[in-house]
Structure formats: C-alpha cells, structure tokens
C-alpha cells in the first residue's frame, strides 16, 4: 500500500465513500472538491452553511414528528402511568441532543480534523522510513462493512416499526422516517471516530510488529550462527571439547583485538559484536579452516553479503547499536506522536462520545423498561413504540449497544496495543543482550512508561471494558428498581380500581386521587435522581 512515489498514501483516501455520505447527510462541513482532488479536509464556509441548514431542518422535522405523534401520549398521561410518562418525556429529545452535539462539534472542529489526518500522514511517512509497512486497504473494507451494517440496522428498524406499529393510512405517518435520522447521523460520525481509532491501533501494532521482527531476525541470526558453529566449526569445537576453559577464549580475545585494530572506528558495533561469543567462532572457524581470509568482515552486518562464504547469512539489525539506537529512537518518537494524535482525537470527539454513552445507557434501560411495560399491556410513549415488539427491541438494543461497545472495545484495544510497545522494546534489548542497547532501551522504556494513551469521555470515565462492566451493572439495577416501582404502581392502581368499583362514595375517591398524586411526585423525584448521575 505504502510503496508508491509520494511515499505513503494518505489515510483519507480510504474514507472516500464515507466522506461523500457524511457530507450529504450533514455530518461534516469540509470542502468536497478539495477532498476529492487532494484528499485533504479543509474548512469550507458553504459546507458550514449547508450543515447548519440541514441541522435546522432536522430539528424542525423532529419537532413536527414529536408533535404529530404526541397525540397518543395524552392518553398515556390520562392513564396515570406517571413513571412511564416521565421517562418518555425525559428521553424525547435525547436523540436530537445527541445529533446536535455531533454536528456542532464537527462544525467547531472542522479545521482541526484536517490537521489530525495530516499528522497521521506524517506518522505514516516516518513509519515508512523505518521500514514498517502499513496496509490501509482493510480500513476501506472496514468502513464499507460498517456502513452496510448501519444501513441494515437502520432500515430494518425503520421498516419493521413502520409496517407493524405505525398507522400508515395517514400521510403524516411518513414523518416517522425522521425518527431514524438522529441515530443515523450519530452512527456516521462514530464511524469516523472508530475507523480513525482503528487506524491508530494499526499503527501501534505496526510498531510492535517491527520490534518483534527485529527480535525474530536476531534470534534467527543467532540460531544460524550457533548452527554454523555446530556443523562447520570443527576446529573450534574440538578445542572447546578437549581443553575446556583456556585456549578458545584466549584465541577469541586475541582475535577480538585484531578486529578492533582492523575494524577500528565503530566501537559501538564492535563492542556489540564482541558481546556475542558465537558471533566470532563461526567466521573464525571458517577462515582458519578453509580460506583464512576476510576475518573481520563477518561482523559487519552490512558487509556480510560481500563475504562469499556466508552470503546466506541472516542479518540482524540489532548487532549495530548505533543504527539500532536511531531506529528505536525514531520508533519511540513515532509512538509518542501516535499517542498525542490519540489524545487529540479523543479531545475532538469527547463531547459526542459522552453524549453517545449517555444516550446508550438511557435508551438501553428505557427500551427494556418499555418492553416490560408493553408485555404488561400498559401504554408506552409513542416515540418508543418499537418496544412493543420484542424482535424490533432486540435489533434496537443490538444496534445501540453495538455502537457503544465497539467504541469501548476499540479504545481498550488501542490502549493495550500502546502499552505492548514497551514490552516489545524490552524484548529487543533482552535478545541482543548488549550493554549499550540496554541503556538505550531502559531510557526509552521510561519514556514509554510515562507516555500511555487512555481514552476517556470528557474525563468522566475511561473508555475501557471495566467501564462496560460497571455500566451493565448499573443498567440491571436501574431496571430492577424501575420494574419494581412499576409493579407497585400497578398494584396500587388495581387496588384503587377495585376499591372504587365497590364503593362509589366520593370521599374515598378523593382520598385515592390524593394518594395517587403523592405517588406521582415520588416517581418524579426518583426518576430525576436516577437520571442525573449519568450526566
């Protein structure tokens, strides 16, 4: 992917379809032409105006929708299921709020978003120079899969609800289509975030893979040397066997001096090659046995191929401390840069993510609660009519929770991948087993340790799986509480009704309504206290 002449393809090349779609729907205000021809995101005033226009149209239509479908809610209010009514009222605008947050944040960030991808491109170039190749093509595939999934979910929810649960004899019922807009816009925005996050994760993994490759190469190299030792270095073996300690080391160390004299300048690499006993034995055995030439050359990995004897040699970059230092330094700097990009990206999307998480939590709870209400054949708010059908509810829940969980999972994985780099770096140090390299590695490792990336929603909570565990616990307990209150309310209502039907006296009715008022205020208080912690 990254081979062609402009060094690397920009990441945004993969975003073509997504960009056109989000431009059309009004998720991003950036300039379309610039994107098409230069693959950059640039500010555009027209785009901004278009987006604001789209947003206001959405708001108007959504309000119209609420108004036209609000008729049925009057009966809900009348039928005294206060808890359900309050929750419905509370959640009426949450979809709209989420959508507005996404769009307004995109408007504010329109300049910075372009910079972000520019920074990623710079990182790609640097990675390319470190011979760490990235394959961006799977990102385009991912975007396509996500878009298809979004379409499937949105359309199946919309169509199933429209056919089953909306009275489509009136033309006004077509407004129901608007109810899908907020979630769709939100999903498009989140696909941008998710895919960019995935790209970051890939970059972290590419760094890790490069480091692991270094280790593997070096191990192969070592194995090759020792294998060579065993098979061809008969002289060395014999001496090592017969006179256990003294002669071979002396021999080696003397030769070591020789190398130094000959190799001369590059002390780092020399010391390095001195670090490996086996490194020496093989070439020495060769040279002494057969040809007796080119003694110092095998130690320089660059020159290895020039030696006709061992042109099958596995090279290992880890032998050359100076070169490796530069490489490791560069990789760590790139790692830092990616961490910074991750933080910047998290900053750009912090409010949308917070609103998405709040939305996910509330909608998940509410949908399940309304499902319960529907199974008890109570009336539910008209906007949540999808809860009347268990299958549609399942789709809605999978869609909503899938969005949230995928983001959380991806953030967690990215964070883990960034932490993994330190381990891989140390593996390099351990396998090369060289003093200079250890110093480099220790130094860089401290740097990495201080520089880890954690994704959070506005700093309220970190986006990792433990949060998910906490949230799932929260949803269950709220659900149990809600259902219990609903049960109690139903029992009270039944009791009142049976009471009323038996005694038709006015005094009792007065007492009962008073009791009901009390309970409704209680429900109000409870719902508000329950909803506040999530914000």
């Amino acid at each position: 992917m990254s081979q062609p002449t402009p060094l690397v393809q920009p990441l945004l090349l993969q975003f073509q379809q997504l960009f056109f779609l989000s431009k059309m729907v009004g998720v991003l205000p950036q300039n379309l032409d610039k994107f098409r021809y230069k693959n950059v995101l640039e500010k555009s005033r027209n785009g901004m105006l278009y987006m604001l226009g789209v947003l206001s149209i959405y708001v108007v239509l959504y309000n119209l929708l609420i108004y036209s479908f609000g008729e049925e809610d009057r009966t809900l209010k009348a039928s005294q299921s206060t808890l359900t009514f309050v929750i419905g009222l509370f959640l009426t605008y949450i979809g709209l709020i989420m959508m507005a947050t996404d769009q307004l944040t995109a408007l504010f960030n329109q300049g910075q978003l372009g910079e972000l991808y520019e920074r990623i491109r710079v990182v790609d170039e640097r990675l390319y120079r470190e011979e760490c190749l990235l394959d961006n093509s799977c990102i385009a595939k991912r975007i396509r899969i996500m878009l298809i999934m979004t379409f499937i979910f949105e359309i199946s929810i919309l169509v199933a609800t429209y056919i089953n649960l909306v009275d489509y004899t009136q033309w006004l019922s077509l407004l129901w289509i608007v109810s899908a807009v907020p979630t769709f816009v939100n999903t498009l925005d989140k696909i941008w975030f998710a895919v960019s996050l995935y790209a970051l994760k890939e970059r972290f993994e590419a760094i890790n893979a490069t480091l692991e490759d270094l280790v593997m190469e070096h191990e192969k190299y070592k194995a090759w040397l020792t294998g060579d030792d065993a098979t061809t270095a008969t002289v060395g073996n014999r001496t090592a066997d017969s006179q256990q300690s003294s002669p071979p080391p002396q021999y080696d160390s003397n030769l070591e001096y020789l190398y130094k004299e000959l190799g001369g300048i590059d002390t780092g690499s020399l010391r390095n090659s001195g670090g490996k006993n086996h490194n020496k034995v093989a070439p020495i055995a060769h040279s002494m046995n057969s040809f007796g030439e080119t003694i110092p050359t095998p130690h320089k990995p660059q020159r290895m191929n020039t030696n006709p004897l061992i042109n099958m040699a596995h090279e290992s970059e880890l032998n050359d401390a100076a070169k490796v230092e530069i490489k490791l330094n560069n990789l760590c700097q790139v790692h830092d840069e990616i961490c910074e990009i991750g933080k910047a990206m998290n900053g750009l999307w912090s409010y949308p993510i917070l609103s998405l998480m709040a939305y996910g939590f509330l909608i998940f709870t509410a949908q399940l609660y309304f499902l319960y209400c529907a199974t008890q054949s109570q009336s539910i708010p008209s906007l949540f009519r999808s809860a009347k059908n268990p299958f549609i509810t399942v789709i809605v829940l999978v869609y909503t929770s899938g969005k949230c969980i995928y983001l959380i999972y991806l953030s967690w994985k990215t964070s883990l991948a960034s932490k993994r780099t330190g381990i891989s770096l140390h593996k390099c140090g351990v396998v090369a087993d060289d003093n200079l390299l250890y110093e480099i590695v220790n130094h860089l490792s401290l740097k990495l340790l201080n520089h880890s990336v954690d994704f959070s929603a506005c700093g309220f909570f970190t986006l990792d799986m433990e949060t998910l565990y906490g949230v799932s616990g929260g949803i269950t307990s709220y659900l149990i509480i809600l259902i219990q209150f609903n049960l109690a309310a139903q029992q009270a209502k039944d009791a009142i009704q049976s009471f009323n039907s038996f005694n038709d006296t006015a005094g009792f009715v007065g007492a009962a309504t008073e009791m009901d008022n009390n309970s409704s205020t209680l429900y109000d208080m409870i719902t508000t206290t329950m909803m506040t912690p999530t914000y």
């Binding site: 090592a240 256990q244 300690s245 003294s246 080391p249 002396q250 080696d252 160390s253 070591e256 130094k260 002390t267 020399l270 010391r271 001195g274 670090g275 490996k276 006993n277 086996h278 967690w412 883990l416 932490k419 993994r420 330190g422 381990i423 140390h426 593996k427 140090g429 351990v430 087993d433 060289d434 003093n435 250890y438 110093e439 590695v441 220790n442 490792s445 401290l446 990495l448 340790l449 880890s452 990792d464 799986m465 433990e466 998910l468 565990y469 616990g473 269950t476 307990s477 149990i480 509480i481 219990q484």
Partner: protein, 469 residues
C-alpha cells in the same frame, strides 16, 4: 487428580481427545465434542418444544417453581452454549502450543537449576501439600454431592427419563465448572513456574548476601591479591572499558563450561579460575548462579507470554461462568430467604428447586474463588520476581558492580515488568480483573441487588398458590 479432571472433560466433550498430539484422527478427536452438545441441545429443545419431561410441566410445580426452573434452565443453556462455542473455537491448537511453550520453559528452568545447584531439591516440587489434596477432595466432594442430589431427586420424579431434565439442570453448570477447572490447572502450572523462577532468583539473592560480606570487610589474608586486582581493574575500567566488557562478556557467555565445574565445586570455594582474557581480571565468580540471570529474565518474559495466551483462551469463558454464578447465588439467597423460610416443606418440587439453587451457587462460588485465588497467586509470584531482583540490585553484588551489563540487564528487567504490569493481568476480556477485587465488587453488587430483591412482596403470590394461608 488433574488426570481425572482431564478425562472427565474429554468425556463430556469439552476438550478434544488426544489434545497433546498434533497429528491424529480429526474425527476421533472431536466426536465427543459434537455428541454431547447435540445430546444437550436435544434435551433442551425437547423440553422447551415438546413441553414434556420438564420440571415446569409437572402439576406440582407452582408459578414460583416454574419461574425459578426456567431461569435455571435458560441460564444454564446460555452458560453451556457460550462455553462450548469458545471451546470449539479453541480446539486443540491451544493445548499443543501450551505444551510446547511449557516444554521450552522447563528445559531452560532445568538448565538454570543445574547451574544454581538446586537439582537435589527437585523432588520436593512434585510433592503436594496437604492443603492441595484437601482442596481437591473438597471440590470433588461437593460436586459429587451436587450431582447426586440432583440425579436422585430427578430420578424420584421422572424415573428412567431422569437423564433428560438432568441434562438441562445440572449438566451445564458441571461443564462450566470443569472448564474453569482446566483454567485452574493451566494457571496453577504457570504459577508453579513463576515459583520456580523465584526460588532461582532467591538463590542468587542469598549468594550475593553471602558474598557481599568478605568484600566489604576486605579480607586481605585470602583475597588481598584479588582485591588489589579488582581495584586496579576498577581504576582502569574507564581506560580499558572496552576490553573489560569484552572479557566480562566472554566470561558470562560460558555457562556450559562452567556447568561441569560447578558440579565439582561447592559454591563457597573460590578456586575456580576462569581464564582471564586480558590478564587484568582475576576476580572469580565463586558460585555462578548469576549467569542464570539472563535466562531467568527471558523465562519470566516467556511465562508471562504464556499467561497472556492462557488468559486469552480461558478469560472469555470466565465471563459467562461468573455471570451465571452471580445470578444463581442471588436467586439462591432470594429463594432461600423469601420462599423456603416461609413455606419450606410444603411443596417437594419447590424445595428441590430451592436446594438446587443453593447447592449450585455454593459449588460455583467455590470454583470461582479457586480461580480468583490462583490467578491472584500467579500475579503475586510474577510480581515477586521483580521485587527479588530489586533486592539483589540493592545489595550491590560484585558481579553487578564489576559489570555494567548486569546492572542494565536487571534494570531493564524491572522496567519491562512495569510494562507488563500495565499490559497484562488475568482478566475476563477486560471486563474485570481476576483477583480479589472482583470478589469485593461482586459482593457489593450482590448486596444492592439483594436489597432490592428482598423488597419483593412474595406473600400475595405465595398465598395465591395456596402455599400460605
């Protein structure tokens, strides 16, 4: 004991047969893994679709009993299906990988033990403590009791068809527990390797302690010459830094030759002169178990990688098991306090259901506790290695002072461990860490649920079922 568990898990089709050999008959390996789930699914769908043989369809079963039975059955189905799919996904690749890694690790450990002269005490490692046997007996005991209770109660109700309801009531929990048992086994193996490494580290630590004394006291009589040389060496170190390091490197890289001599010399003797390459360094390395250090560091790293692998395989299976354990425990307590206390003994089926909940909640809790304990142990052992290395570093042993390489190596190890700590811990796909904090969080969650659940007013339901007057 492990063998029994392995046989059992093969028998009920949770791990493939011949899991150690890579090339064996594919069909034979997976035949149990297909048969048993089919049997289970047949029983499950048979009960749910045909509406027969289920406890819920008995006349004696009232609404509370039906609810709890359905919950137990569906929860079990969820548990079994997820666990089975994950086992099938794992196949035997994991076992082969695990064994090969373990073999590699063992070879290196063996080598290190030889160097460290810990060979003689090896016999001890095989012998298990009383607590180990007691735990196994205890676990087996409660499982046999749970299975016996369920089987006998079902036999009393359904006669020879008891196997069908048994498959949907106790079997999934048994299967889940056995998979956790496999997890326990693998974690305990890992933990054991960590312990062995720690003893090796500890050996080095003790040696440095012993060797440190003469160096500080300056025992001139015996070591004067060497001290002198050593100080000379120190002084010339900067000048001859390169040769010095070369020499040290040479010396360090010669463990195979030292091994032979180690067997002759005890560690306290100091006559083992390694040939000195540069004629400067005659300081000898009395007992050479510090040559183990690089190997040990690599080993530690390898074992941690192995634990990542194990956790990746078994962690996801922990999640449904813990969830099932949690739900069963809560409902067990709920049924026991709200139903059995009040109307115990009035309906035999209801009592059976309640006891089943209580028994399985206890059993799963014991297994979960053992899992958590072992994971916590393994974590602690791996942490301890870093602690011991730091201790060695603080003592400033001779081999460290004379050679920068050792110092850097140890520092590198401890730093790497910090990275590992941030990266890995035994966990269930990141949802929760498998250590004692998990117990705390579940207990606190369970308390709040219980408070909510105990407020349910059961009296009217019980009254309408005719259990209460």
């Amino acid at each position: 004991m492990i063998q029994i568990m392995n046989w059992l898990s093969m028998a009920i089709g949770l791990i493939p047969l011949n899991r150690q050999q890579f090339h064996s008959n594919f069909l034979v390996d997976y035949v149990m893994m297909v048969l048993v789930p089919c049997l289970y699914l047949a029983a499950y769908f048979g009960i749910n679709l045909l509406q027969r043989f289920g406890l819920a369809f008995l006349d004696a079963c009232n609404s509370v009993c039906r609810l709890s039975n359905n919950l137990f059955m569906h929860l079990g189905a969820f548990l079994y299906v997820t666990i089975f799919i994950l086992s099938l996904y794992r196949r035997k690749q994991f076992f082969v990988d695990f064994e090969t890694h373990l073999a590699e690790i063992d070879v290196v450990i063996q080598k290190c033990r030889q160097v460290a002269e810990l060979d003689k005490s090896r016999v001890k490692a095989v012998k298990h403590s009383v607590a180990y046997h007691f735990t196994w007996l205890f676990v087996f005991g409660i499982f046999i009791f749970a299975l016996y209770y369920d089987a006998s109660a079902l036999y009393g109700t359904f006669g020879e068809y008891a196997i069908i309801p048994f498959m949907v009531s106790s079997f999934p929990y048994l299967a889940g527990s056995i998979i956790q048992g496999e997890f326990i086994y693998h974690v305990s193996v890992i933990s054991n390797r960590f312990e062995q490494i720690n003893t090796l580290f500890e050996k080095i630590n003790q040696e440095t302690r012993r060797r440190h004394a003469p160096l500080t006291v300056f025992d001139i009589e015996s070591e004067g010459k060497k001290q002198e040389r050593k100080s000379a060496m120190m002084a010339t170190k900067s000048a001859f830094g390169i040769e010095q390091k070369l020499a040290d490197e040479m010396k360090r890289q010669k463990p195979p030759q030292l091994d032979d001599e180690d067997e002759l010399n005890t560690s306290d003797e100091e006559d083992e002169d390694i040939f000195d390459y540069n004629d400067i360094n005659t300081e000898n390395t009395e007992s050479t178990s510090e040559t183990n250090l690089p190997d040990l560091f690599k080993l530690h790293d390898k074992i941690l990688s192995l634990s990542v692998l194990t956790n990746g395989e078994f962690g996801p299976q922990c999640v449904p098991y813990m969830a099932a354990c949690f739900v069963v425990s809560i409902f067990g307590i709920f049924l026991e306090t709200k139903v059995n206390f009040i109307v115990g003994g009035k309906s035999r089926v209801l009592d059976y259901m309640t006891y089943l909940y209580v028994i399985w909640s206890f059993t799963t809790m014991v297994v979960a506790y053992i899992v958590l304990r072992l994971c916590c142990n393994a974590n602690n052992h791996s942490k301890q290695s870093a602690m011991i290395v730091h201790e060695i570093m603080q003592k400033k042993p001779a081999f460290m002072l004379s050679n920068d390489l050792f110092y850097n190596k140890m520092k590198s190890f401890t730093l790497q461990f910090l990275h590992w700590e941030g990266y890995f811990q035994f966990n269930g796909i990141g949802l929760f860490a498998l250590d004692y904090t998990f117990i705390f969080s579940t207990v606190s969650a369970a308390t709040s649920y219980l408070i909510v659940l105990l407020q349910f007013d059961m009296t009217s339901i019980l009254r309408s079922e005719g259990l209460m007057t």
